[in-house]
Symmetry: D2
Amino acid sequence: MIAVLKQKIRPQQLEVFLNELTATGAIVYPVQWGEQSLVVTSPLSSAAVGVLDRSPLVESTIDTGSVFQLTSRCFQRKNTVIHVGDARIGDGSVAIIAGPCAVESREQVAAIAELLHGQGIRLFRGGLFKPRTSPYSFQGLGFAGLDILRELKARHRFVIVTEALSERCLKELIGTADIIQIGSRNMQNFSLLKEAGGAGIPVLLKRGLAATMDEFLLAAEYLMAHGNSRVILCERGIRTSCCHTRNTLDLSAIPYLKEQSHLPVIVDPSHGTGRSELVLPMARAAVAAGADGLLIEVHPSPADALSDGHQSLTPDLFRRLVEEVDRVAVAVGTRLTRNSPPF
Amino acid sequence: MIAVLKQKIRPQQLEVFLNELTATGAIVYPVQWGEQSLVVTSPLSSAAVGVLDRSPLVESTIDTGSVFQLTSRCFQRKNTVIHVGDARIGDGSVAIIAGPCAVESREQVAAIAELLHGQGIRLFRGGLFKPRTSPYSFQGLGFAGLDILRELKARHRFVIVTEALSERCLKELIGTADIIQIGSRNMQNFSLLKEAGGAGIPVLLKRGLAATMDEFLLAAEYLMAHGNSRVILCERGIRTSCCHTRNTLDLSAIPYLKEQSHLPVIVDPSHGTGRSELVLPMARAAVAAGADGLLIEVHPSPADALSDGHQSLTPDLFRRLVEEVDRVAVAVGTRLTRNSPPF
Amino acid sequence: MIAVLKQKIRPQQLEVFLNELTATGAIVYPVQWGEQSLVVTSPLSSAAVGVLDRSPLVESTIDTGSVFQLTSRCFQRKNTVIHVGDARIGDGSVAIIAGPCAVESREQVAAIAELLHGQGIRLFRGGLFKPRTSPYSFQGLGFAGLDILRELKARHRFVIVTEALSERCLKELIGTADIIQIGSRNMQNFSLLKEAGGAGIPVLLKRGLAATMDEFLLAAEYLMAHGNSRVILCERGIRTSCCHTRNTLDLSAIPYLKEQSHLPVIVDPSHGTGRSELVLPMARAAVAAGADGLLIEVHPSPADALSDGHQSLTPDLFRRLVEEVDRVAVAVGTRLTRNSPPF
Amino acid sequence: MIAVLKQKIRPQQLEVFLNELTATGAIVYPVQWGEQSLVVTSPLSSAAVGVLDRSPLVESTIDTGSVFQLTSRCFQRKNTVIHVGDARIGDGSVAIIAGPCAVESREQVAAIAELLHGQGIRLFRGGLFKPRTSPYSFQGLGFAGLDILRELKARHRFVIVTEALSERCLKELIGTADIIQIGSRNMQNFSLLKEAGGAGIPVLLKRGLAATMDEFLLAAEYLMAHGNSRVILCERGIRTSCCHTRNTLDLSAIPYLKEQSHLPVIVDPSHGTGRSELVLPMARAAVAAGADGLLIEVHPSPADALSDGHQSLTPDLFRRLVEEVDRVAVAVGTRLTRNSPPF
């Protein structure tokens, strides 16, 4: 249950009210939603209903009728549009976020920046911290790479997307990152979700390795209940018994999530297939299915990449992707967001 | 290894040759491939290679370098195009096969036939024999429904696609069916595959419930090794740990199969999602990913369907699907196959 | 709903009654259950209930409260015990069924027969027809191997278990086979299930490649509704995303199935792991979890086996298995069924 | 490659050596292993091999021949035995770790403590921080519950096992916890693994929701490369397409892990089934398959549990489990570790 509070409530009044609710055994989150102050309460015992009914602070209540509260389309009918820098995600057009799996060097980043710039793409993703299955694999440049991203941002006005692996890491990235990525392996790292809920910048949340839709949306709910309403959901494939691709990209998640939730949904066909030759058809398919954007790995020389080279596009393939995806976007009544360079 | 035989070989010569090969321990299939006589031999011991090398009947040999022989793109570079009645599948355009899950009555079939007719669609699919999980669910009209399909064919020149559940069933359907469907639960019913290999009509082979790509192509290889070169592969979703859809539709199978094989690949978003509201976006996505066709369940009144009503489209939704899919097809450089009515 | 009929009903009366029930839209199976005549009716509309209530033929009705009827523990509380030859399966002791994956030769079968004989094991399993993923793999000796099994039976009084791949195949095996195996790939081959329902000999039904418990029990329900009450359920692992074993052996199926159903449950750790070094620990575990029996692949020389050699035990390992399993059986309050040779 | 260093190396020498190795592009971990100083280096370029060959600090090198280094049975043949308090895990006997899903109150903990005490069990597990799918579910008592665990430890000499959800959390638990649990959702929380690598106390690492054996062992490798050699592996079921249990308990992991690694392997049948009636048979099966221990959820009143009540045993069932498991342990040549009360 979501209680919409009246305006001009004194902090002390609010505290008393929250304590009363908590005393019923409910879990309670006060949330600022645009202009409105909300209190999300669940589960809803009769005692908790009583408190809500009696309280003079409550203007109205919203029952979403499900385990989802703030992520639910029943709570907010209209799509959430995320503004970050000059970019928008979820406004009906198709956004492309692109970059290397890992930031490797100034030269590598510069080459990719130029490519993106030429295509009118301004959402740059590059990892400094890489969650690698083996401790003996390249772990990313770490904070040593922060300067590279800062320069990129300063010079080209790119919006920077980068992954945080821990609460500590997250704090260090604030100021440089414009959007924090939470990776699949951390989708249910609830400490990190709570921290990112208070980060003040948008979060790109990737679906867990074998996560159901409920688990995915409830991970987003953690972010929102902890104060962050700017969440981007990213389908990136799930683990199945089929092995011709690295993961099985579940495009049905797009229309399903958009039906259930108001949050924007993007797709990562690079991890979703693990094979560069399958990235283009799956990127087209994602847009045809209604995705709000794509997350694409590109590398000036995939064969030399320190991680995930087999799924990274060459610059040529990337330009072809942009072109093909644009045509499909138009066919389904939208378009690709591209800024005329120089942006 | 595929051996291409010389022309004008006497049956007795061939028999001796095949016996020699079999004596080496190899499994051997003589196959007629268009004008050419082939012999597929596997596995290839040095003894078998010796027989092939020495035989005066062998014109040339083709090594596909994999477990796949006749299904492999290494054996045949160009796409297989399947002609059936006036329809073509795999010719570069997008074919729609549509109809009810089960043939229920003359009235139901007539209503759907009229709908398809109006959309210029001539591939009609309807099941007489339904493979149902429970013995207490509607099992289909059985042979009692054959007349309904025969009339449909006679009156409207529809190409009839219907499922065979067993060798016996297959024999009875020949003459009425134009394309035999082998369902997911029978993808590895090897007796049925062998029988359908000799059926003389095209086979629409659905991917098994949790089949890998190798298993799927090797099931097609059974059909081809037993003499049927007209095989249509149908992706219909696989069983995974995710349950927001009936199955997880694996669209990456489309570009993957088309890379590995020359056979046409179609997609069944009805079974692949199990929910009518997801059928349209996934149908668009399938075409964007390069599918040669779609298999769509439609029913005049889905709520009254005797099986699979929740995934069947209403006539209105079906018309919308045709329109939307056509636009995506054009965006990816192809088009929807539609016959101008009256066809 | 299961209706227990009164004794001494004339065929004509029964026919009228069944027609009345069918006319309500219900699916109806008359079944002989020991001394009793039953009619299973589902789904149960109010019209069908009316027919049952009014009919003078009905002595009593049993409502299992689920989709399961004849397989349900609610229908029959006591365990089904299957008597075949001198052997019993499901009587509280642990039965071992063993043999090669495929019957390869007289010599191979004789060597295994001697081994089993020495261990007091009299359930011999060997495949004549092998469901192989590739048409280019060894397909089994086929009917040519029937004589080998017949001799084995005649000489050693073994109970013969062998797989049927099709209805036709099933008919040919009757007379030689004592128990018909229906393999994983055919668990939902409903034509074969219906045929095996009328076969008159016990059926060993293996769980499908990715089958749920419901699907597994409903496949058994097909056998029972079509007249065969002697069904043995066999857990043999399911397909998952984990690949250190050929399949993931789901031992929780044992207590679950025994809770839901009265049918005996055996386990195949050979297919369930695909690696001979894991067969012993998993066989012990299966018995500790309450299995009624084990299905074990053994070969005089696994390295030379024409199929599945990597999962077949050597004679030495097999003898160790029998010994270890026996100790675990005793620890859980049962024992291994062993006949003192010569049996 | 693992390099065993000579004794009495000066810190400065070591630093130069490590820098040389790192300069070759290798990832390098210095590790203290009992009395020996090791350096683990991977991947192994020819340049890195050169450094190892030339260095006067290296006494010998060990090539495990795989991606695993410190976890590999090739590195250490004998089983790792973990001593903690008076308890031992991995010494050939079967250890039981038991307790509630979540610490709820002094009374609840006291009741369980008494039960365990009476059974001679001294490994107590109780969660203060619960990783819950929904933010609206009970999140555990948090640090407020620390005192309860401290008193338990002081009064009864229990060995305390509790879960850490984050690096911060881990630090706060040190001093109270004797063994830190890292849960399934955090198996690939690499920041947490690195921190726990330096925690100085044993880690109970649970297999991830859909983790392969390689991923599981490489997560343990993170702990070991970061300095913690006392790692307990815990199989707790994986996510599959089968839903009669909460997870599919993969008991084949026990013999597989014990073959590949020297680390102890325990099993959690509570999460592995999610249903209390299946816990006993699966606990027996785990021990029969060779598990070094069990992790069992028990609650004085499961129906009132704030989390996971459906999978918690009652005290009566728990006592029965101890008895049954003991019998199976003896049958497989081991025994249950039980301390004669008062311990």
